[in-house]
Symmetry: C2
Subunit: 427 residues, 2 copies
């Protein structure tokens, strides 16, 4: 899990910037860069190891600040070619970090509360970040079809990114997703396959497909390209620190689906410390789940090191992964940093969506309701210190989960003043 800032690089077969090799998160064994995701020694998950820039932090900071207003400003820290910004790509990132003073007042936060609002990305979820990196890996490895298993947001992100990049796409989703996510996944014109089952069934199917000749030559962004893909979430850490004036937040609340995002944000913070771009001081990472799919929260509360799979049943479908691959790493990070993992029920999710909307004018997806709801609960339970600088992630857009919020007109009237007067809304 340690960040390797300088090391003897395995000469990479492909040019992916500072990416030097893949290394096993369990046994540390290293492999050349390629479309592999499991250690050939111990079957542990692989991640990208870097030769990160050495030298003066100030010049690196200036280089970043002079870069484009998207994730490619951090290209020196990502597994992408140096000329990445010149290629057709959705160019996500550098979304707003909203100073949420009105939400802070409602929650009693005095140390500064910020919402990192990733609904501003091209397909309106954080998935554009990870897919953008996967696209570059797919190009490097010569794949011409981009694929994935998805709870919805990823399907749209892959469909859109493939088209911008000139790749084909074939994505797999559970058959019962929200209408907005289905249309968005289909509209870009690639193949979209509904699977009769839940996300874990879809995921298992994709793992089979990748071992079969049927899936040959396909880049599954969250399977055989997963080590690259996951690194896209580091950009959330980079952006938050840069937007806070190159400072770490004291506390951050992150939703947990597979858990990958949370582990990569921690990795990003550690890299910035190692590079001297931020001051090295403690930060606490909190994970947020929906009660109807809370395997990591349950394990955290029970003091377990492993995560027992659950069958998901929650309106927060983008977080409905019952068997989260990175669960044990999440537990480790939450405990190591002094954070926690907590969950809220579906009613609290909806209340939190509405709370965020009416205080800050941000219409979050159910996953955003989960993080805001968990933040409220953590404060009430004394686990999150309201006197410290706190960042809450909104990773998606309310327009994709319309059914979750019952919101409609206060009144419907004829177009005349008497009817309006009778409705009693004036003044």
């Amino acid at each position: 899990m340690a960040v390797q800032v300088t090391e003897t690089a395995t000469t990479p077969a492909v040019a992916l910037g500072p990416a030097a090799a893949l290394s096993c998160r369990e046994c540390g064994q290293r492999f050349p860069l390629g479309p592999i995701f499991a250690c050939q020694e111990c079957f542990g998950p692989l991640e990208v190891a870097y030769d990160l820039p050495s030298g003066d932090p100030e010049s690196l900071r200036k280089r970043i600040e002079a870069g484009p207003h998207n994730i490619w400003r951090y290209a020196p820290l990502l597994p992408v070619p140096a000329d990445v910004a010149d290629k057709p790509n959705l160019n996500p990132g550098f979304t707003q970090l909203v100073k949420a003073d009105r939400l802070a007042a409602e929650l009693g936060v005095t140390g500064g509360l910020y919402v990192k609002d990733d609904s501003g990305n091209p397909t309106h979820s954080f998935k554009d970040r990870v897919v953008a990196i996967a696209v570059e890996a797919a190009r490097a490895f010569g794949f011409t079809t981009l694929s994935c298993s998805s709870t919805g947001n990823l399907a749209g992100a892959v469909g859109a990114a493939a088209r911008r990049a000139g790749l084909k796409s074939c994505v797999f989703i559970p058959h019962d997703l929200e209408a907005g996510k289905v249309v968005m996944a289909a509209v870009y014109g690639g193949d979209l396959v509904g699977i009769e089952g839940n996300y874990d069934d879809v995921n298992r199917f994709c793992s089979e497909l990748i071992g079969d000749p049927l899936g040959e030559g396909w880049g599954f962004v969250n399977v055989n390209l997963r080590p690259y893909y996951g690194e896209g979430s580091k950009t959330l850490a980079y952006e938050i620190c840069e937007q806070l004036g190159w400072q770490l937040p004291d506390q951050i609340v992150i939703p947990i689906a597979s858990g990958s995002q949370l582990t990569k944000i921690d990795k990003g913070f550690k890299e910035l410390i190692a590079l001297g771009l931020v001051e090295d001081r403690p930060y606490k990472i909190f994970g947020a789940q929906a009660e109807g799919c809370s395997p990591v929260s349950a394990a955290f509360k029970a003091g377990h090191d492993v995560v027992r799979p659950q069958k998901p049943n929650t309106i927060a479908k983008s977080l409905a992964i019952g068997n989260p691959a990175d669960g044990p790493y999440v537990l480790d990070i939450a405990r190591r940093t002094g954070g926690a993992v907590e969950d809220v029920d579906d009613g609290q999710v909806v209340d939190a969506i509405k709370l965020l909307a009416r205080t800050e004018g941000i219409f979050a997806e159910t996953a955003g309701g989960v993080t805001v709801g968990v933040t409220k609960k953590l404060i009430e339970d004394g686990l999150l210190d309201p006197a410290l600088t706190t960042v809450v992630l909104n990773t998606g857009d309310g327009l994709k989960t319309l059914d979750a919020v019952a919101a409609g007109p206060t009144a419907t009237i004829r177009p005349d003043l008497d009817a309006f007067r009778a409705a009693g809304l004036a003044g």
Copy 2:
């Protein structure tokens, strides 16, 4: 219609940056800045007149480039207080100008084709730009309730912006809007009133309300704050030129609802020329309508100077204004610049939405289908020169007009390889 760069300023009663006065677009009469929208002499529409910065263009350009990555970088050219960026506001703008090479190839454009993608704004339409300016005017005039008549996008933008700014809101929409727009208008918790009628009925009702004690103290962004509100569309012109490397595009295709946006983009281009920020050279402005609501296109083709109202019937509901206030000004600009106004039918709108999605990975609202469809038609008819640099506006988001596109899974299958093989999608 001339841009007044320097003049003897009427001392403004309120501090709205370079805004010096309101002036009548018909007779030129000037009035102090205030919540008025019609000339007291001739009933013509009022617009903001400025004391724009004088002096070295290079230093102004540098000041802009050092500003925030949203519309407030252009605060020196907008009717907003100098400290606008420090106030709670949705901070829209600086959306992506996408180099659309794959769309260009399909349309035969060789001179460079760009899509200005305003779905990246906080509530995913260009309306966030105009509302952001109106919010500052509402603050300056002491209004505590923000209101509007809306075809949907504006309702969401006003609801969200009011909440971020700590204002109340009450917005009026036709009762039969798309579900996504209704939920988005309601979720921020202000009052939302459905009106039994079309947009023109809603608009007439709001004009009555503003003259009645019931509406006293309300800032209607597109009625009594309209002169300020409209100026927000200038930022599209500023951003496009800056993103093209401080150059005017040769041609631009703009959707027409009220026509305000098109007139303000022209105003923005003229200001940049007057300020020396771009080279003074010809540009052509094209207007785009849906056939089912094409009063300006019909007038253009008939050679009329006035616009005959129509009863709208089109899936492009955000453009469904049958009696467009700025219609005559649009006709004037299209003719003066050598452009045109054209329309496409609903089938062509849907085809164009899908064309943009499958070539560029951009999921546009119906209004974006209108501009892309009209661009295609203008090229086919020889009115738009494919050898020139062309910008097409996408002003909204496909997630808000889901019903317009019938898009769903290519196949729905059991999670096994045999079922996938039988679906015939592999490879």
